[in-house]
């Protein structure tokens, strides 16, 4: 039997959050953490968590699994269980709505801040704006982000200043549009980032790189933004 400890908090009933212990029979299988949560929910329907695609594409089930942020659907027990114990908490740093569900409003506000869409005011060509294979290759490692918030909620700089520091996820997306050959708002985008918080609150802690379930590297993207700022401002 696997020991599972889960963060529980229902603000309508509980005065404060607590950890609830369960025992789950995994039948010796290396299940995903999400499978274990589903088993528990079948027993206790009051347990609340987000999930959707169950294959690491939608980014709904980001949570703190045995101390490390990750997607429950693609984290096997063999990675997460220590001494026959699985500890599941909500992503840290953002307000908890209930159990493992957090309010991601601040995270999305920072995403909105970087204008996550193509800006190009030149007349659109008849079919599409073409890119060379080399220009397209610059977007690899950037466009794959699924906005699960595992990285930003693992970042101490984002914990302290979630309203001012854009955070690794937003900055990875910021660079995705800065690096896009079809986007023409590079200077405006850079001008919006050149303050002591938006980009420069990143101190290279690299928790983001450690936890990203898609294997992306926000710290590297932040370095590229910094180099673009240096190129444009010196």
């Amino acid at each position: 039997m696997l020991n599972v400890s889960i963060y529980r908090y229902n603000p309508e009933v509980d005065a404060e959050p607590y950890m609830q212990d369960f025992e789950v029979d995994t039948q010796g299988k290396d299940l995903m953490v999400l499978d274990v949560l589903e088993k528990l929910k079948a027993e206790d329907p009051t347990l609340v968590f987000r999930r959707s695609c169950r294959e690491g594409v939608c980014g709904s089930d980001g949570m703190n699994i045995s101390g490390k942020n990750g997607l429950a659907c693609v984290t096997p027990l063999s990675e997460a269980v220590k001494k026959n114990k699985l500890v599941v908490r909500p992503l840290p740093g953002l307000p908890v709505i209930r159990d493992l569900v957090i309010d991601m409003g601040q995270f999305y506000a920072q995403y909105e801040e970087i204008q996550p869409y193509m800006i190009n005011n030149s007349p659109a060509p008849a079919i599409e704006r073409l890119q060379s294979p080399e220009e397209r290759a610059k977007l690899d490692g950037l466009y794959e982000c699924i906005l699960c918030a595992c990285c930003s909620t693992a970042c101490p700089s984002f914990w302290w200043n979630p309203d001012k520091f854009i955070g690794p996820s937003g900055l990875l997306q910021a660079y995705r549009f800065l690096a896009d050959s079809r986007d023409t708002a590079t200077e405006e985008r850079l001008a919006n980032l050149d303050d002591p918080f938006s980009v420069f609150r990143c101190h290279g802690i690299m928790n983001c790189v450690q936890v990203c379930p898609k294997g992306l590297n926000p710290t590297k993207a932040i370095g590229h933004i910094r180099n673009m700022l240096i190129n444009s401002a010196t």
Partner: protein, 122 residues
């Protein structure tokens, strides 16, 4: 774009660059001083005074002191804006943060002036 009035360079890039350059200055000063001690194992007061009263050494010391001051200002400003915030300690945070920021800036400037006084008093 987040505005800031008590950071040293007002811009993130400027603060970042000052932080890196001042780190290099401090490192080279440290390497020079330690190297000088090793190269002169029988260093006496007269030689030490002569070194420190020469203009190039005074300039090097002054640049290092300015680097320490700038580095400390940027670093302390980061620490204060991380931990003394309304989010962490409540509505009085802004007043407390401004108090500490101005105090930190005043102490830093006083140290710089004091150091200049010492350097040119040798």
């Amino acid at each position: 774009m987040v505005t800031s009035v008590t950071s040293l360079g007002r811009s993130g890039l400027s603060d970042w660059m000052i932080q890196r350059i001042s780190a290099w200055v401090m490192t080279s000063y440290l390497v020079f001083i330690v190297g000088y001690f090793f190269a002169n194992p029988n260093l006496d007061y007269a030689q030490w005074t002569e070194l420190n009263s020469s203009l190039p050494m005074r300039m090097f010391s002054l640049i290092t002191i300015l680097s320490i001051a700038a580095h400390a200002w940027i670093g302390m400003w980061c620490v204060l804006t991380d931990y003394i915030t309304v989010r962490l300690i409540g509505p009085k945070a802004t007043a407390i943060r401004i108090f500490f920021q101005l105090g930190m800036i005043a102490v830093t400037l006083l140290y710089v002036l004091w150091a200049i006084d010492i350097l040119w008093g040798i």
